[in-house]
Subunit: 194 residues, 4 copies
DNA sequence: TATGAATGAGTTTTCATTCAT
DNA sequence: CATGAATGAAAACTCATTCAT
């Protein structure tokens, strides 16, 4: 994989990330990718054997970055609430910073088994990272809890992706809200007087 | 839209629902839709002005059904925990019954503002239904809580959609799990001894 | 096969026959075929599912015509020498009339098993027609003799195809020459005095 | 053309001969030729200015070899029947030994005037070699006879090329058959009793 | 209304050839 | 001489949409 450091390889991935992210797989043309990367159409095929292959590579790079950064951040935190807060912030800020690339996951090529398998693997790895945190905190049914937590974060992420007004401070508040809700439950936010 | 009750209109929607659901937007052909509906290709265009228009109609019908059924079920329940449980079951069973149509939402046409707007509207309506329940229960920040709840459900829905082994009883347990977690929080599931 | 009488089907076959015949398979473009047939590119694909499929159809029509005409002509002749002469004339005139379509057989698509099988079948049928004539004449080893005769004709056909000066009368003489040579052998043409 | 003896030049020709022969012109890639020759793609162009040029060179070398060997063999034989037998054997064995390279002649580039001219020249030379034998034997119309003889051989060659069962002994018998048929004519093989 | 034959714009991919090193 | 990364022209094929009947 010396190609990882190849500048053209990287330029293609960057161009494809931007285009797939904003237009989705089907509406991104290989010619656009080449143009944005500043190379000829044929050159893209020297580095990636097909459009699907390129999409896989883009996805892979993005997911790996997501998981690696999460690991680093979790390592610097000890308490369960602290770690859950780290996860929430990571999830929401990661997408906050990538608002432009909304469609990378939403508009993936249909019926590509390799991609489906990879996305399942990514989710599994992400979930296991959360599971580990929960298990260390003594959780029962950690898998379902992890999925639930990720689900909460993912839904709130939507507002970030689709709301052009969304600001960094909002992401901050929202991350904390989810972490608190997850730990304390809705009961803590419900006015008993009512 | 008197055509709503037109049998051909319905046949097209049914055919499109099945095909878009299993193959996604881009990999479904209008000719297939026509064939499955038992009519000629040109006839589809008498009822829907384009492929995107048809997809919109399919989506709309599905979402409206989802919301209407939810309203009915919520009307038969009074307590907050009961209503949250109803929401969870509705969400999970709705997709359990539609396992075959995984791709209706995942593989939508890109860059169609009308569809994006409609999906946002649907989410808003769904959220408002949950918000109403939460507000009646005296919740603070009901919108964020509603989104979080829906997010939890949505993530768990994935297992239903992609796990061929998933059985009805599992959906039941999972729905209850989410409702409980949402109300009591993770703290209720964490072993204090640890 | 009602399409056989379809005028568009026929127009495409005619256009393809002319183009494949003069330019060969690889250098004939589907767009050229469409243009020559006076229809749109996509329309060609309504009648033939691929370029190879079209080539097969063209080949088939040509070969069937060749064999059918031969049968008719052989039926009108009784003696062995007469029949051999008929074969020679048919072979040579068939190609004389089709000088423009030289490349139909020479430049066929590579590695297409269906085509290879069909050409083998055609040769077998042609050979069997000649074999039948020879057997009726009491020949020993009729298959090898039939192949040899066809081979002689085929080689002489080349002059017709590639010599622009070649006239109908020449074809006539040549056909008779081959028939005589085949029956009498070289010995009849060799001057014993030398 | 001092490059004739250059080992790289030869390696390219050998590689191209093998690939063009088994895959035909259009389905052989220059990169494959380079790889099989053990050199870089660009290097091929130092020796041959284009793919067609390379094909020409391969064809030329093969045809020259065919004619040279024929001359040698004919020089060692005196009688007319003996020489005709030599020709038949040479023709059939040459292809018997090259069964793998079926496509060298069948799948040539279309519309290349230089190649067409060369093949015509080759045929002319081959024919003249046969003509010379016939003239020495006192033949009338030696050109047509030569072409006929070559044609017989060529058709029988087909069985060799396409029949995987074909063995050396069969080639032997067939060569003799053709020589006899050519000299004695069909009349010699026809049962007069019939 | 209903049909389905016809259209043609649009996209991926290949591969011979070039040329800077 | 040798290399192989880069190029970009070229072509098959698809399929949403139209429209004459």
């Amino acid at each position: 994989m010396s190609s990882v450091s190849n500048p053209k390889h990287t330029a293609i991935l960057d161009a494809a990330y931007a285009l797939f992210g904003s237009g989705g797989f089907y509406e991104t043309k290989m010619s656009e990718v080449a143009e944005k990367a500043g190379i000829a159409k044929g050159t893209v095929y020297l580095y990636f054997k097909s459009k699907e292959d390129l999409f896989m590579a883009v996805t892979r790079r993005d997911c790996e970055g997501f998981l690696q950064q999460l690991e680093v951040k979790l390592g610097a935190e000890n308490s369960l609430p602290g770690k859950l807060s780290v996860i929430a912030k990571h999830h929401l800020f990661y997408y906050y910073e990538r608002k432009q690339h909304t469609k990378l996951f939403f508009r993936a090529p249909n019926n590509n088994p390799e991609l489906v398998a990879y996305m399942a693997l990514f989710m599994e790895q992400y979930m296991q990272a959360v599971v580990k945190v929960l298990v260390e905190g003594g959780a029962v049914e950690p898998e379902l809890m992890a999925k639930s937590y990720i689900g909460m974060l993912d839904r709130l992420k939507m507002d970030i992706l689709f709301d052009p007004q969304f600001a960094e401070a909002d992401a901050h508040k929202r991350a904390q809200f989810v972490a608190d809700l997850f730990i304390g439950g809705a009961i803590g936010n419900i006015n008993p007087a009512e």
